[in-house]
């Protein structure tokens, strides 16, 4: 393989913030003091926190150097399964930074915040249209909070009908956060196994679904990258037995313009704006996890809600059945602005095209690599495909080694060891913004690594060698935690 992306350049060292600087330096410009000092009583005050004193240049070099030890979507292909690491358009960041948005106080009188309220209202309507659901709350701050919101809505719904079920069904191909979100609501998650084809069968749901069960949490497409083809039957069954259906929409990037979640019968569905709608992930957030609901759950949505009357927008909290607030204000508005800007740029036609190309890319990788890596479910996939390390086991090479070696080739590794239903999973989600050239490079690299696994497995065991650091000792980090300097 020629022209490998990964190489070594000059990587600079940089100490911790408090290991540099000198007392008396400053990196901050204070305004002129135009009022007198008014000291607080001595028993209330302290000398203040022990922060390092740094100059502006110290700070700039410090974080610039740190940033060069990171890898982002702008650096290269980032095929992290179930995370939808698509390109984050720069124009959206510009919109979020407009002074009327970034400088807006959340308790402004409503006549002074019309533009931002209108944006939120329109975004809700667009997400409702995209999903086929009836109403939307933008308030949840991330996918897991969207899940919690969904569970709270289901809980409130049952309560309003005098029911108090104690369980909820969670398939083995659901997202990892689902059981913890359900548990926060007091529900005991009951696992349901997927079938030999990697999807849920109506019969296995039927066995588990009883009167003491609040409903089911379904990730669709699931974490094997497969569409839950029995979904309608499952939905009808759960409804017939008094339960509700929660859709984890973290994988919606596969089905924009294709699936109608509303017609399918989902009662509540969360979206990840930082996945499907291209807002940057920021090294772990902030994201946004709006929930979309059908009419039956609308009365329970979080408050305040944005309402429109005669072209005027207002925040309204007087919904007696609401579950309440999830956020101190209205959620991560800065993220909503980027998603709005993305949807307005794409329009219906390009959103659908994005899903088509995301699915094309995943199937292309699946077909090109399935003779090299073991493919446990050999059938058409949606936006991601899952391989394993079974073919490499003879060489004593594991998924972890393959992932680490991929770094040396200049790629971010896929998601590994997830979903749990597959041993040694290698979960690849290329997204639509990777070109065929990029995919071919990734495929070449993974094929070269498979060859290395046979000829020189130590290359994989020792990987990565070209990053800022070699493999890190995670065991000691957890046994003897050092969490602050």
């Amino acid at each position: 393989m020629k022209d490998v992306l990964g190489t070594t350049g000059l990587i600079l060292n940089e100490p911790l913030l408090w290991e540099k600087g000198k007392r008396g330096r400053s990196g901050f410009s204070l305004p002129v003091r135009d009022v007198e000092v008014s000291p607080l009583a001595e028993d209330l005050t302290s000398p203040g926190p022990d922060f390092p004193d740094l100059s502006e240049v110290d700070v700039v070099r410090h974080f610039t150097r740190l940033s060069t030890w990171n890898f982002g979507v702008d650096t290269g292909t980032y095929p992290l399964g179930s995370c939808t690491m698509k390109y984050n358009p720069k124009i959206n960041d510009k919109q979020a930074a407009l002074p009327g948005f970034s400088g807006a106080h959340p308790l402004l009188p409503q006549e002074l915040s019309q533009g931002i309220l209108r944006l939120m209202f329109e975004l809700e309507r667009m997400l409702a249209e995209i999903t086929g659901m009836d109403a939307v709350s933008l308030q949840p701050s991330a996918g897991a909070q969207g899940e919690l919101t969904g569970m709270l809505l289901i809980h409130a719904y049952h309560k309003s009908r005098g029911r108090k079920p104690s369980k909820i069904l969670v398939p083995d191909t659901a997202h990892g956060t689902n059981p913890a979100s359900a548990a926060l609501c007091g529900y005991r998650p009951i696992p349901v196994a997927s079938n030999a084809q990697g999807v849920l069968a109506v019969e296995s749901v039927a066995k588990a679904m009883d009167e003491d069960t609040a409903g089911i949490m379904i990730t669709n497409p699931n974490t094997l990258g497969l569409f839950e083809e029995n979904l309608k039957g499952i939905v009808d069954l759960v409804h017939a037995r008094g339960g509700l259906v929660y859709g984890d929409g973290a994988n919606m990037n596969a089905v924009l313009g294709i699936m109608d979640a509303g017609c399918t019968g989902l009662d509540v569905l969360h979206l990840n704006l930082h996945k499907t709608f291209s807002t940057p992930h920021g090294g772990g957030g902030p994201g946004a996890g709006p929930v979309c609901v059908k009419k039956n759950l609308e009365p329970f949505l979080p408050v305040p809600r944005v309402v429109e009357q005669d072209g005027k927008y207002a925040l309204f909290s007087n919904f007696p059945q609401t579950i309440g607030r999830l956020h101190a204000f209205y959620g991560n508005v800065g993220v909503m602005i980027r998603a709005y800007s993305y949807i307005r740029t794409m329009g219906a036609v390009n959103l659908k095209k994005a899903s088509q190309l995301a699915v094309l890319n995943a199937n292309y990788i699946k077909e090109r690599l399935k003779t090299t890596y073991h493919l446990p479910y050999d059938r058409p996939c949606m936006h991601e495909c899952v391989f394993t390390d079974k073919n490499q086991a003879g060489a004593k090479v594991m998924t972890l080694d393959i992932a680490k070696r991929l770094m040396d080739y200049g790629f971010h590794p896929p998601t590994i060891y997830f979903p749990l239903v597959v041993n040694g999973a290698i979960m690849i989600e290329p997204t639509e913004t990777e070109s065929k050239d990029d995919l071919d490079r990734l495929i070449d690299a993974l094929q070269a690594i498979a060859e290395e696994a046979k000829s020189n497995p130590d290359l994989l065991h020792q990987a990565p060698t070209k990053c800022k650091r070699r493999r890190l000792d995670e065991v000691t980090a957890a046994r003897k935690p050092i969490l602050a300097g």
């Binding site: 508005v333 949807i343 390009n350 000691t476």
Partner: protein, 443 residues
């Protein structure tokens, strides 16, 4: 479409490899019962020119500094953000990366978050801070859930001077469970009335905000003693962490958990979010903490490096027995706060904090001299409550027309406090601005 790189030829050749006839053919696994019958009805795609025009139009209808003088705080604060912060924060390696699950190629984020954990723990006077929560309100709710886990008790006492929206979020998080929330009233001096606390049995936590919603600095030492006497944890919250540049930190006064909002630390107001949930506690409680943690370790060659650690507390490992369901947090905001605290330094945060306090005192004294009633006598930081003359609503509206937002009316939150307004002053207001405000109010 400039974000979609495929040419028609490439699509055709890829379809051949895949064995599909068309792009639609790729979706054969989607049954008709799940399919859309028509297209999506969305506005037509906008090019960059039209998008810029449209968004600028929306933005221009929203009141913002410096055109408007906004004296509202109440959980969201206007502070100057040094140019260095947005500049550095826009480094795409920070912005476009995922959670640092692969530490070898995420050392930048990991070291920055380790630095965030260290500086925020120092700011709050505690030993360990997590990698961030969504916001102050959910951080408080998670802190109370943690106190219930640690103490295995069933009741929590919550000061009525905690931000009303924070209290509402706590109720939402606790609603499905059987835990009991007792709200503590406040005293005429603007502090929490703790006198009923000793009658509360089975108490897991006492929750107090300082500076509280009225801007008043609470007696956290007294609150800590009372909570600890009853075997409960003291959970403190805050909306204005810059106070701890001069005001004693919650940890130094006995708080077991400090969890609040860090938006003041270099993060734009953005109509309330994204901000930064800060969550800190003592090392003895670390295994009960929610959220991600970055720890220091070494690599295969013995060199210092950083990893996500203590993951056995978290949802992806422990599933339903996790300490929280939080996964994605507000990492980039935590990095912004680190940059901001690094710019300030020890002397900078003291000076800035003192200046904020002094400016607010100036306005408070001017309003008092002008005949307004300052409702609570206790010392405050940045914010204070003023009882305005009856009929002030008209003047409030007139001031809006003059691009002045004269505080936040408290009646919505505390129905007894008719005509009371919560005023906030930060370093962004000049003496001249404040003199003009007082002149308008008394005129």
């Amino acid at each position: 479409m400039r974000y979609l790189p495929h040419t028609d030829e490439e699509i055709a050749s890829m379809l051949t490899v895949v064995g599909a006839k068309s792009l639609d053919d790729l979706f054969s696994a989607v049954p008709p019962s799940c399919r859309r019958t028509g297209g999506m009805t969305l506005p037509e795609p906008l090019n960059e020119w039209d998008l810029n025009r449209h968004m600028a139009g929306l933005s221009s209808t929203v009141a913002a500094a410096p055109e408007y003088k906004v004296y509202a705080g109440a959980g969201s604060y206007e502070h100057y953000i040094p140019q260095v912060v947005p500049y550095l924060l826009s480094r795409s390696e920070f912005v476009t990366s995922y959670t640092p699950y692969q530490p070898e190629m995420s050392q930048g984020t990991l070291q920055a978050i380790y630095e965030y954990q260290t500086l925020s723990a120092r700011l709050l006077g505690l030993e360990v801070s997590n990698a961030s929560m969504y916001d102050g309100a959910s951080a408080l709710a998670e802190a109370l859930l943690m106190a219930l886990r640690v103490t295995r008790k069933r009741r929590i006492a919550v000061s009525s001077l905690i931000h009303p929206h924070f209290r509402r979020v706590v109720q939402t998080y606790l609603a499905p469970t059987e835990y009991e929330i007792v709200e503590l009233p406040y005293l005429p001096d603007g502090r929490t009335d703790l006198s009923s606390l000793r009658n509360l049995k089975d108490l897991a936590a006492l929750a107090v905000q300082s500076p509280n919603f009225f801007g008043v600095i609470e007696d956290l030492k007294g609150a800590a003693d009372q909570a600890h006497n009853q075997g409960a944890l003291l959970v403190t919250t805050f909306t204005e962490p810059l106070a701890y540049g001069i005001v004693k930190s919650p940890g130094s006064l006995g708080a077991d958990i400090a969890s609040g909002e860090g938006q003041s630390l270099g993060i734009p107001q953005s109509f309330g979010g994204p901000g930064l949930g800060i969550f800190a506690t003592r090392m003895s409680h670390v295994r009960n903490m929610p959220g991600r943690l970055v720890g220091k370790t070494v690599d295969a060659e013995g060199r210092q490096g950083f990893v996500l650690t203590l993951a056995t507390r978290e949802q992806h490992i422990r599933r339903e027995k996790a300490t929280s369901n939080i996964c994605t947090n507000n990492s980039l905001c935590a990095v912004a706060a680190t940059m901001y605290m690094a710019c300030l330094g020890a002397s900078g945060i003291r000076e800035l904090s003192q200046l904020n306090h002094d400016k607010a005192e100036y306005l408070k004294n001017r309003l008092r001299s002008a005949g307004c009633k300052i409702s609570f006598a206790s010392p405050t930081f940045n914010e204070f409550v003023v009882e305005m003359p009856p009929g002030f609503e008209k003047k409030y509206s007139r001031l809006l027309a003059e691009k002045i937002v004269a505080g936040v009316s408290l009646e919505t939150y505390y129905p007894k406090l008719k005509n009371h307004h919560l005023f906030c002053v930060t370093e962004t207001k000049s003496k001249q601005d404040m003199d003009l405000l007082v002149k308008e109010i008394v005129s």
